[in-house]
Symmetry: C3
Subunit: 155 residues, 3 copies
């Protein structure tokens, strides 16, 4: 299959620079052939692209776009952790998706699909993953969505 | 020990058909000898058996039953992923349990026991697992509980 | 490096007795060289040190201290699971941090640092970890924070 980097280009997605560790936690940690990616928020160009809960402030459609940005940031983190070679990602194992939700909002799966669908666009069947999508009363920096990932890496 | 399928029968539990993948995420994903089961909700016969938060809409006792149904659905997913042979499950590693909670409800562990206890009924000591049980402001399709699992599989 | 137990002593931290399994779930479960620690709450001497949500009941600074207590309890669990030898912990892989949050509170990362920073104080670079920190509408026993961990163990 065409490389992940190539597919990103075809989709017009430029990965941002990965965030640098600023604290005791780090953007990614490897154990064996699993790479754990820390919860990513929809930062774009250093600014939060979507803040506030769904649907009072952010529509489900916009929140799905926010989830996609989280996933792009997770890939940027993975690329940095994998010495620039995204094709060392073998499988997407699990996504954890937290959606800032008003009471009464139950559309977390549709929001999470913004992240999930990108994985399959980029990796094909290897991009399919287990997932938990849940509502949260509030997320860091008032982010609309937070996405964490577990990736399987080629050894 | 008697097989898991046999114990299910003795408990009068018929596993439903596993949900088929309808999106980029899948019900189960294997990496090495770990099987990640996606977050399961208390669907029974295609209908949500318990909707709404605890305790205003659903009592803690009912929510515990909802958690048990989530666990049954997770087993159905595992069976499908393991070519129909539940006895390939070697250990239950972790349960993540999200409980749709009203502000002021703090009984998530009792709710989660509905899923946890079933694991031990079926697998004995191998069914004991690490667990995180937390409250959620809202879950997919207004489910009362969502349960995800990590299983260790015989290689 | 000096042992983890020694560093705990230098920090004046005495690990409590690990909680004993009282249910179908257990404080820790090992799979391969990974040790999953169940969600820990800020119990001290059998009493919850911090209850209530942030910031209406508990300040962010106090909640960070609560997260540190959760992390200490997680280490106590790990020590018990590792036959008393904390130096069998090789790497901290992931922390999941749930913060009981009022609507409008978005400072979960600062709260979670109470747990994360202790890991690095004790283990140095090996203590750095992936992390997801999110808000929760309510946690078991009205705990202010719940922290779960994945550790990599020396084989």
């Amino acid at each position: 299959m065409a490389g992940i980097q190539h597919k990103l280009s075809m989709l017009g997605i430029a990965l941002p620079d990965a965030p640098k560790p600023v604290a005791s936690y780090v953007p990614a940690k490897r154990t064996g052939n699993l790479l754990f990616i820390s919860g990513q928020v929809p930062l774009e160009g250093g600014k939060m692209a979507f803040t506030g809960s769904v649907p009072s402030v952010v529509s489900p459609e916009q929140a799905s776009e926010a989830a996609r940005i989280c996933a792009i940031n997770a890939l940027a983190v993975a690329k940095d952790a994998l010495d620039g070679d995204l094709d060392r990602i073998e499988e997407i194992v699990r996504l954890g998706v937290f959606v800032a939700s008003d009471p009464g909002f139950f559309g977390q799966p549709q929001v999470a699909n913004g992240a999930s669908d990108l994985m399959v666009e980029l990796l094909g069947p290897a991009g399919r993953h287990a997932r938990a999508a849940v509502g949260s009363v509030g997320l860091p920096l008032n982010a609309t969505v937070e996405v964490e990932m577990i990736l399987q890496i080629r050894s």
